[in-house]
Symmetry: C2
């Protein structure tokens, strides 16, 4: 199963992505956790320490290796069961394998088009066992969608908070994901403080498009100043994300019937 997590900046994409990675790691063989934003912080949220993060070679460097060996523009089918090529470009943590799209560049030097294109190619080519999962934490906003970075995922999971702006972004994401041929676009309402906020979200989408809600958590806010790898997800977050995980599994199983 391949899942991309998207939404407006600040809605909680990385919190959702890292919790899903931890939960799938309990039940699945290999979970590829992919940071698809040069400004993201999925690695720390998954529990990888800062020094190790520094040592991950960005995936885009694999492109140079492939181009050298096989010529520019080569397509490359990658099967993790028969090919260890990704090992050099990932950090293992239990059965989680963390990958990042690209490194931070110099100001004014370049866009991230090449990184996005290559990530898209690798993720499409990656043949998964049914016990393997990919969770991609996308950049804020919509450019990854107009670029098509997450083309080929089974589910585009859009995180929203109870604000008009994040709902507008989510609706744009839905439209652009359909353009990409992604059939399942689903929503999570995050930072919900009361019934009024829950209803606000419910009124914006079809009931079966919404996979669940996560209440606003003061502890998440408090711990966001701490240094070091993120703590284990809190009880409420975990409880709600477990339900969301089960729904995701059902959705994808349904799609395969």
């Amino acid at each position: 199963m391949k899942i991309a997590i998207s939404g407006k900046g600040g809605v909680g994409k990385t919190t959702v992505a890292s919790t899903l990675v931890r939960l799938f790691a309990e039940t699945h063989n290999t979970v590829f956790a992919v940071d698809a934003d040069p400004d993201a912080c999925l690695a720390a949220a998954v529990g990888i320490d800062d020094e190790q993060i520094e040592s991950v070679k960005p995936l885009v460097e694999l492109k140079e290796v492939i181009d050298e060996r096989m010529g520019t523009g080569a397509l490359y089918p990658i099967n993790p069961k028969v090919d260890d090529v990704l090992d050099d470009y990932s950090i293992p943590l239990g059965n989680i394998r963390f990958l990042r799209m690209g490194a931070i560049k110099q100001g004014g030097s370049a866009c991230y088009c090449r990184e996005n294109n290559f990530l898209s190619a690798v993720m499409s080519a990656l043949l998964l066992d049914k016990d393997d999962v990919v969770v991609m934490d996308m950049g804020a906003g919509i450019e990854h969608l107009t670029r098509g970075t997450a083309r080929g995922v089974d589910v585009m999971l859009v995180v929203i908070e109870p604000s008009k702006n994040s709902v507008n972004t989510a609706k744009t994401v839905k439209q652009l994901a359909k353009d990409l041929g992604i059939e399942k676009v689903r929503f999570i309402g995050n930072k919900i403080r009361n019934q009024k906020e829950k209803e606000f979200v419910l009124n914006q989408f079809e009931a079966d498009e919404i996979l669940g809600f996560i209440p606003f958590d003061d502890d998440v806010w408090e711990s966001s100043m701490d240094k070091g790898p993120a703590a284990e997800p809190g009880g409420e977050l975990l409880r709600n994300m477990k339900k969301i995980k089960e729904k995701l599994l059902q959705e994808v199983a349904k799609g395969r019937d």
Copy 2:
């Protein structure tokens, strides 16, 4: 004076940008409010209604006109005092002129490199009277910096909230802005709830790099579900942003001595 507002997704860039636009409009001749993110919502926050927003031609379309008339790659000095070329690509609201970089495209169709490049060229070429101001609301994260979209601004204003992640982004922004030759990079601490959070921000930067603080405002959160153009900024926000505006004016005056 040309100011770019940046920072991690969700920190409050658009709130800061739109309030600055409103405040400069009280004292300056022309305020160019520029939405440099295809997913942004500066127009509504400034007070332009949804229908009008739809009618703004994206600035990138001006590129096609220029290319047609003058050949591809032409440089084009734009002086708003002698040239009304921008009129077709902006919405006036009092002495505010709203511009947006690019429209939403189809999923998988393209990146926004062309839009960013052209915006950068136009903003660099724009010759301002001392009574004119440009406020650019940048996209979340760091790609606009590796692209160099805001090259040539007088101040890069980075909004942070009291979280490790937003501080990390701000430090990266600072480094990349220096790469671009932007001399003044300044910070605003937003969503501050208590002394501990204020100190957290103070400990991350030099005292003279921090232009001010904005307390967490429950009203901003509450009103974020409302439809229609944003309400006037609340009292606390306005009071703090007025001080920040004065400091910005002093900083830029200092730079010209």
